[in-house]
């Protein structure tokens, strides 16, 4: 299940559950009627928000994972691919009656094909207030080189 790194057409379109016509119709209705249908089955289809950037020297990833700590996230990288696993459980606190439940647990696994070779040894990850930030420095051979134009008389 590889997804192109820069696919901006929306997130994991290659997932079976998302690709079904019924699922996309549901999503459309969900969007139209907004708040009306925040039912678990609908929201459970929503993966965490993940955005990417290319800063020149490095690729970066930002994922919104509220409520997660370091131990809930598993990241593995190779020179040209990245796999991100994250899961969360949402439980009602003990002794409380439930009025509304919109926050969903999820179990998320996604692999990304990277558009440039990176140096896996230099990857940095931090999780701060529920936001995961990954910095993937590009390998030396993938760095942009300046070409000097020499004038010939």
């Amino acid at each position: 299940m590889l997804v192109r790194f820069n696919d901006r057409s929306g997130f994991p379109v290659f997932r079976a559950s998302r690709g079904l016509p019924v699922a996309s119709l549901r999503r459309e209705f969900d969007r139209l009627f907004g708040d009306l249908e925040r039912a678990p089955s609908f929201a459970a289809l929503n993966p965490p928000t993940v955005t990417f950037a290319d800063t020149g020297e490095a690729l970066s990833l930002r994922a919104e994972l509220p409520g997660l700590t370091e131990k809930d996230v598993d990241i593995s990288v190779t020179a040209n691919a990245l796999t991100l696993k994250a899961s969360r459980k949402v439980e009602a606190p003990e002794g409380y009656a439930v009025h509304r439940r919109e926050r969903q647990g999820f179990s998320f696994t996604q692999s990304y094909e990277l558009p440039a070779r990176i140096d896996p040894e230099k990857v940095q990850a931090s999780l701060k207030q529920g936001v995961l930030t990954l910095t993937l420095p590009k390998a030396a051979e993938a760095q942009a080189k300046r070409v000097t134009v020499s004038a010939t008389a």
Binding site: P66, L68, P93, Y96, R101, R103
Partner: protein
Amino acid sequence: MQSQSQSREKTRPARELTPNVDIFENDSELLVVADVPGLDPNDIGVHVDLPEFRIEARIQGSPENPVIYTRTFRIDERIDPERVKAEYANGVLRVHLAKSAAFRPRRIEVQSS
């Protein structure tokens, strides 16, 4: 902030996000839990203005694309506005709205005669 918005043509208001919330209740309080990742605790505003209770937070990002989390709830006189507590950890905001003493269940001892 006010003067700045007047001096510049306002073409695009902040994008408003509605955070997902869970609401729980026990004998002594209402507990509102909201997913609002990536905030500085100082940028989170929890306003109690009966009969409304509002969560509002601005995401520090690029100033060209301001993003605000906002959600408003209706509460009634059972909540004591002076005793609202909020905590923020791992991108999750938890607001404890304590009930006024008069609306908390009280155990009545039965006297034996």
